[in-house]
Symmetry: none
Subunit: 416 residues, 2 copies
């Protein structure tokens, strides 16, 4: 069975916003064996929307629409569906009550226009909202089915999982699925990985994609077929790849370095602190994005000014004046200072020049010193990153996380 | 004149990769008055590609394709164009020489398959590559034109500017352009804004879109026509909207709250510090994403543990034990403590429960206290946010930035 995706919104066709919903929908429907044969985006224009619905349902079994379900005048998805299906738009008083209650739990009064969302095409199976106020719609029209979901990514994703996937599983079963397993690599480049797993790639037993991010590469193994077959292929391929890359795989699928590190810290009953200069809080932010990080993360000092480096972290004035704020000596003193003031077992420090200003001949933009401190081991290294301010911040935080990961697993940190 | 965009690649329809090229093309063609009426993506399948080309050229004047121009077996764009246009695919020896030379400047030897890229549909105007080895194609077919560009974003964008835009300007002139101005709003919801600017919306002088983000709404004014006309319409509409929303507009176009606040702080020679508990560094990270933020940002204390709240920020132990870490009293003490230790004129503090764990009946997940401290004025309020951990962190940081913005502009902060 196949499905098209249609995203509605002039912000997309005007180039003001990137459609990320289609990627999530493609991946999730792929998992249950629904093949996505086309993704389209059209502006908030009832004729263009209705014509796109028409074309899609001529070609595909299912159509998943996102966007255009809100209360404002440019939300036209309900109207376009009605225009195409020739169904009536009916007011649902129960739904109206629910929307009103939800709305008034956020705000003190509700404008009447919000209740536009209580109108549904006749014979709709609504997916009642649990986050916002827009319902999802499941509309059967002949042999075909339209799913309409809100454009807000979180709401869309929740309704996709709660409403669309169960409906499709009931309707189509899932004999042939697409199964994907991602191995997350830290410490090797795309080309180095390609060299190491050359044999596996050349065997072509199944599709393998290498997706580089800053300071990390995802190796995606993609298998098609029934569940048993795909699971076997994924397992075999993963084992072969693990033989070559074992020291560099930090996680699988949705795992990220900050979560993996957190799990190790918790298990080993260790605590962590950070001192950040050029990353300005990004490292702490990433660490604290992990639920439950308060189990091991004590806190951090964002020592943007030298005064804080001295007064809070206890970096000696001589080190700052002799070696400068961006130096291995300062990074080491920041790391041990943060461990002391935060009472932590392990501590990371980052100091550098994120740019675009502040660089010099000796210390150009992108110069970053990263230190790790623990009672039994310390490490410090100077790196040179390239890119925009935000890219340099990201790469530095990623490198720091890679360092603490390798330290915790007692792997050599030496590689850059 | 209008144009459709077609991106080719199974990685997109499998949900492994987000199509960002379409956003760039939409924006750049919009600037020269070409309206994008549909964006589509299809897998690497010659039938699906040819059928999508057919549909697009039936509807639109122009079609811009990206992807599928490389040397591998799943690069099928040239073949699909030939299938659709019934033109021949011809080998271009000059182009082959150029590709070979380029390739051998990166690598020591060239596999024969690379020369697949030296085959062009007859009557193609090639856009000779200056970065990679894939040429862009301009193919006139009847009254319609197909542009085909590589999928690699940097190569695509370069050929768009060097090949497609000049061709289109020559062909269509640019009397009619799309001009967009975005007003950034903080402190009002989408629906409240719609109510306040109801009259402007009803006049329908030009298109206006409201785009909500967490804790912020973008009001986009979109005008079509020649440059003078659009500039006049944008100015008139902006003035009308400003009359209604004046106290809530913090910036225009690409500006964000953190940059706007930074500009005010720099101008007024004020310094800023933060103390973060539940936001865990996000607020500092956002503030330091702004280039030059070291002019006014002193630093911050991420006081995840109570020990740091006491030892570094000087929050009295009695306050923590009597009112708890998530309380107005603690937030206020954190704010003044951070100002003291960081030597700052203005200080923000955030303490709360980001979840998913840690909530209680009295203080459910999403309870956040935000305080602002300055010598002459202090403010503190308890908020209730909803959403995931990362959403609550974001909303809290956004609210804190909104508070300091209103404080700096001496506007009442009172509203939620």
């Amino acid at each position: 069975m196949n499905c098209e995706i249609l995203t509605i919104g002039s912000e997309i066709t005007l180039g003001l916003s990137v459609d990320t919903n289609s990627c999530v929908i493609s991946r999730e429907l792929g998992k249950i064996g629904i093949e996505i044969t086309r993704i389209s985006s059209v502006p908030d224009d009832i004729e263009l929307i209705a014509s796109a619905i028409d074309g899609a349902l001529n070609r595909a079994d299912f159509l998943t629409i996102t966007g255009g379900l809100g209360p404002t005048v440019d939300d036209l998805t309900r109207e376009a569906i009605v225009k195409f299906t020739k169904k009536k738009l009916l007011f649902d008083p129960d739904l109206a009550g629910l929307i009103k209650k939800r709305y008034l739990s956020f705000k003190s009064s509700m404008p009447e226009v919000v209740l536009k969302q209580a109108h549904l095409p006749e014979d709709t199976i609504p997916i009642i909202p649990v986050q916002g106020t827009a319902s999802g719609l499941i509309i059967e029209t002949g042999e075909k089915v339209i799913f309409a979901l809100p454009g807000v990514p979180k709401e869309m994703e929740e309704m996709l999982q709660r409403g669309v996937v169960p409906y499709l599983l009931k309707r189509v079963g899932h004999d042939e699925i697409i199964n994907i397993r991602t191995l997350k690599i830290c410490g090797l480049s795309e080309v180095e990985i390609q060299e190491k797993i050359k044999k596996v790639l050349e065997e072509k037993k199944t599709a393998i994609a290498l997706i580089p991010h800053f300071g990390q590469v995802d190796v995606q193994i993609i298998a098609k077929g029934n569940l048993d077959h795909t699971q076997r292929i994924l397992l075999e391929t993963e084992n072969e790849i693990r033989k070559q890359l074992k020291d560099y795989i930090f996680g699988v699928n949705e795992e990220n370095l900050e979560k993996v590190i957190g799990d190790i810290l918790r298990e080993r009953k260790l605590t962590l602190s950070v001192a950040e200069s050029c990353t300005g809080g990004l490292l702490s932010n990433r660490i604290t994005n992990v639920p439950g990080s308060s189990d091991y993360f004590q806190g951090g000092i964002i020592s943007y000014s030298n005064k804080i480096k001295e007064a809070v972290l206890g970096v000696p004035e001589e080190i700052l004046s002799n070696y400068g704020a961006v130096s291995s000596q300062t990074a080491e003193a920041m790391a041990s200072g943060a461990a002391h003031v935060c009472n932590a077992d392990v501590s990371l420090a980052i100091t550098g020049i994120a740019g675009p200003g502040g660089g010099s001949r000796d210390k150009p933009v992108g110069t970053v010193c990263i230190a790790l401190w623990s009672k039994e081991f310390t490490y410090c290294k100077k790196f040179q990153f390239c890119g925009s301010r935000e890219e340099i911040k990201w790469k530095a935080s990623q490198k720091a996380l890679g360092i603490v990961w390798r330290f915790l697993l007692k792997k050599p940190i030496g590689r850059d």
